[in-house]
Symmetry: C2
Subunit: 366 residues, 2 copies
């Protein structure tokens, strides 16, 4: 989709003289531009004295080589793109700032820039990727929110563009990625609640295409089976990945037949858990005593709900850094297949979980 950019008029754009350039500097230093380039880029075939003179002059004049020109000449691009989907609300919304910070700092340490593009629907998304690649705007991509058989991953692999994915996407061929152990984390949460004495569980599944949603549900099932929970004591509802979703999950779980009301509600996302806490409290239960509710993510606000939320917390910042590390290895030509790290979130216990001591009292309620 070549953008024609016909701005109506046919007037040509006039050139604007920018600041000082390499020729100016060379002239001032009494050397050839090539020598300035050598000095600035740390090459060795230049006298130390000359280098220092040039470097000094560069600081003095606040000279900074034009990154555009440099990259053009080098035939390299020193930019990494992060395409942020804003349709599927949040996912890492609350961490976005941390995540961006991790990416940007790690990139900046390597003299690279971070290009951020946003995108609403999937078709636009793939189109944006295409355009960014064709226009040579970036050397690689950070991909998040991976779906099963993700078209972006196929595209990037086909075009042989470096990338790294946060999350897994159950593709046939391997690709570089980093993921949380969603499965083990949720299963571990079930273990934890089981150890507290819970028997009747509910899981709030996410209406979300992303792979992590599937993996977390599998983790729940794993926890159910390895703790030998009775089928009758296990309920699963499926709702949108929002606080409102959490509320409606509670509605279906608690307002229907009251036979198998759960004492433990496992939510695969904090925002959902927060909605659930609100809905359960509104029904007169004491969250953390009558009913345990747990989340996943570790959003800051989770510490300030009533009661504060017990959750699985992800090391957002570290994730960002590692992603960049991996991406650079790939850009340097390392075998992409070797990157498949999995990190474990940590259980942060606050007060939304506890032993189901008051189960009967809870049952007796409206």
């Amino acid at each position: 989709m070549t953008s024609t950019k016909n701005n109506g008029s046919s007037r040509r754009v006039k050139r604007r003289r920018t600041g000082i350039n390499i020729n100016d500097l060379a002239e001032r230093a009494g050397v050839a531009p090539a020598t300035v380039s050598r000095a600035l880029n740390g090459y060795t075939d230049i006298a130390e004295a000359t280098r220092e003179r040039i470097l000094g002059l560069a600081v003095e004049l606040n000279y900074q080589p034009s990154s555009r020109a440099r990259q053009l000449a080098r035939g390299r691009v020193e930019t990494v793109a992060f395409v942020l989907p804003v349709n599927s609300r949040n996912t890492h919304d609350p961490f976005l700032s941390d995540f961006l910070d991790a990416l940007a700092s790690a990139l900046s340490a390597r003299d690279h820039d971070l290009l951020v593009a946003t995108v609403r629907d999937d078709e636009e998304e793939i189109e944006v990727y295409r355009r960014l690649i064709a226009a040579g705007k970036c050397a690689g991509f950070i991909v998040t929110n991976s779906r099963d058989n993700d078209p972006r991953i196929c595209l990037l692999r086909d075009l042989n563009v470096p990338f790294v994915v946060y999350g897994r996407a159950s593709s046939d061929a391997p690709y570089p990625h980093l993921d949380m152990d969603n499965e083990a984390a949720i299963a571990g949460m079930v273990d934890h609640l089981f150890a507290l004495g819970h028997q009747r569980f509910a899981y709030v599944d996410l209406e979300e295409e992303a792979t992590f949603a599937r993996l977390r549900r599998i983790g729940f099932e794993l926890g159910v089976s390895r703790n030998a929970l009775l089928d009758d004591n296990v309920a699963v509802v499926r709702v949108p990945h929002t606080s409102a979703g959490g509320q409606s999950a509670i509605a279906t779980l608690f307002d229907g037949g009251n036979s198998h009301r759960p004492t433990a509600v496992v939510c695969p996302a904090d925002v959902v858990a927060i909605g659930a806490i609100q809905a359960v409290s509104a029904r007169g239960y004491d969250v953390g005593r009558d009913v345990s509710i747990t989340g996943y993510d570790g959003v800051p606000l989770g510490a300030y709900t009533a009661p504060p939320l017990t959750t699985m917390s992800q090391p957002t910042r570290e994730i960002g850094q590692q992603l960049v590390d991996i991406l650079f290895r790939v850009m340097e030509g390392a075998d992409p297949a070797q990157f498949d790290a999995v990190m474990m979130p940590t259980l942060v216990r606050r007060s939304s979980d506890g032993s189901p001591t008051l189960v009967e009292a809870a049952r007796a309620l409206p």
Copy 2:
């Protein structure tokens, strides 16, 4: 600070042949590169037939001119930078994704890119600005979180770089900006609570250098005076811009002498209000009946606190769009002094406020 980038070795970087370029396309089309350029850029001195042939070929070959080369040749930069401070937690944290989306879309509509850099402390910040400018990495800046006498604004003005500020900074000279009417909004909130019957107010001031913190406090004072509240009935505490800050504000307000416990607590930020709600509830009060608590921002999670938070909501997306609009006007040479729009947030009433009917009951509590 010229980055020397001596990567140890002195090996030269090898050039990597990128995809198809304008010469290839020209050859295929049987024309000169200049003609291709004309065709793609919508100039009129080219036969319509030729243009269409070239355009067709471009789509077919998925040709997209190298943005680096194009910008170098044009002497223009089609990138706008957004430097995100991650030290002073949040400010627009919860909206970051919306805000970025607004910026990125508005920029993309004008064929510009969004460069995001993050920065921890103030010195680093000014250094980053310098570097971005000297290296010609961006044509303009979006500045948020403005402080009084903001050094960034001075720098940008001195260097004559286009920029637009979200927020005001009480500088001597005028500069292009857009702001919420913080003052009127908070004053309006006081009016609202006063109309509900509240007499005893508390304001949670922010330990924050940013101008908006000052303006909101002034707004509170305005509300106090125009509703003729008694000095004895007004308290102000100053805390960090976090939920923990909100909690500690409540501690000082409620745990001291119980003589002048407020019935209305005005918070200038939702995160703070959420901490306050939690702390007030924990002390056995019924928020919304015994005590009214209000926020400012309109964070999504505010709808799911217990009770849901009444707040002043900012149109994040629109703000982003307008900022970009203004920035482009400035880049096109419009007089920067003329841009000083002020927008009004809207009151979103949920359930954390109400008439202080139960005041006496509240007083009787512990």
